[in-house]
Amino acid sequence: MTRRALVVGAGGLGGPLALALGAAGLELWIVDPDVVEASNLHRQVQFTPADVGQPKAARLAAAVVARGGVARGFQTRWTPDDADDLGEAMDLVVDGCDDPGTKFGVADWAVAAGTPYVIAAAVQLGGNAMAGAPGAACYRCLFEAPAPALQCATAGVLGPVVGAIGGVAAALAIGLVRGDRTHAGSIFVFDDLRAGADPRIVRFQPRPGCPACARAPVATRRAESA
């Protein structure tokens, strides 16, 4: 049976995520409201100069399809309001977007839907990737609220960093969709990829009173501690 994944963000992180997941045989739905800009090309290597001005989601989907995968792109901003439509029957959700609020929204939605997910982020020389699955600590257990803007658009990022973090996120995602929960409830933190590629891997515990976990399907709550 073909597994379906929702990819939120078609940029520097979404690119390697989608290419890897597409090559692994997942059917992808990719959402991103933006168009490709020339300034993106140094870190969003899934695009070429010919893609400039075109919707990122559609061009990334085309790149996946060109490699034998199955994908469709939606030029839209992910919002909780239409997430149920976009995310219907998803087996996996991966996030590589640049908006702190959206990351929490995606994670909260995945927890409420009982869907495994990966949240990836990269800024400057490092980044992190967090894997979540029903019953494990969630993104909001780790961080309770979005931070003030610490984004590529404002803080910058070294081009290859997003490829590296996106690759790690894809590996975590493929593990989750195969049922491997080894890293569910863990975050991989890369401080500075110029100095070393070994992440700090921290497994954290569900936070009592977490509002996201409270909306999880009852059968999946705190399954690990039951």
Partner: protein, 93 residues
């Protein structure tokens, strides 16, 4: 002597240093010493009431201080205190 791991977004306040070595007995003391050495860092970690911001987590080694004694967690020589903020980055969506 312990080592504080400074995340990228805060390194502008440490002169670009990814690590800061200092003497401290507790996590709270380490942050105070870090603030003395590099003014502005602690206010990015702690709110006005002195609590850790909800978008930051602190780890001693691989342990979340929330699972230890919080800011009063006692540090041993050569411990590593990591500041891990929530970040975005990737693409607008």
């Amino acid at each position: 002597m312990i080592t504080v791991r400074v995340p990228g977004p805060l390194r502008a306040l440490t002169g670009g240093a990814a690590e800061v070595s200092l003497d401290a007995v507790t996590v709270r003391g380490a942050l105070a010493e870090l603030e003395r050495k590099h003014p502005g860092v602690a206010t990015r970690v702690l709110d006005a009431s002195g609590a850790v911001h909800p978008f930051v987590r602190l780890f001693v080694g691989a342990d979340d201080i929330g699972d230890l004694a919080g800011l009063e967690t006692v540090l041993a020589d050569r411990d590593e205190l990591a500041i891990v903020p929530a970040i975005a980055g990737g693409a607008h969506a």
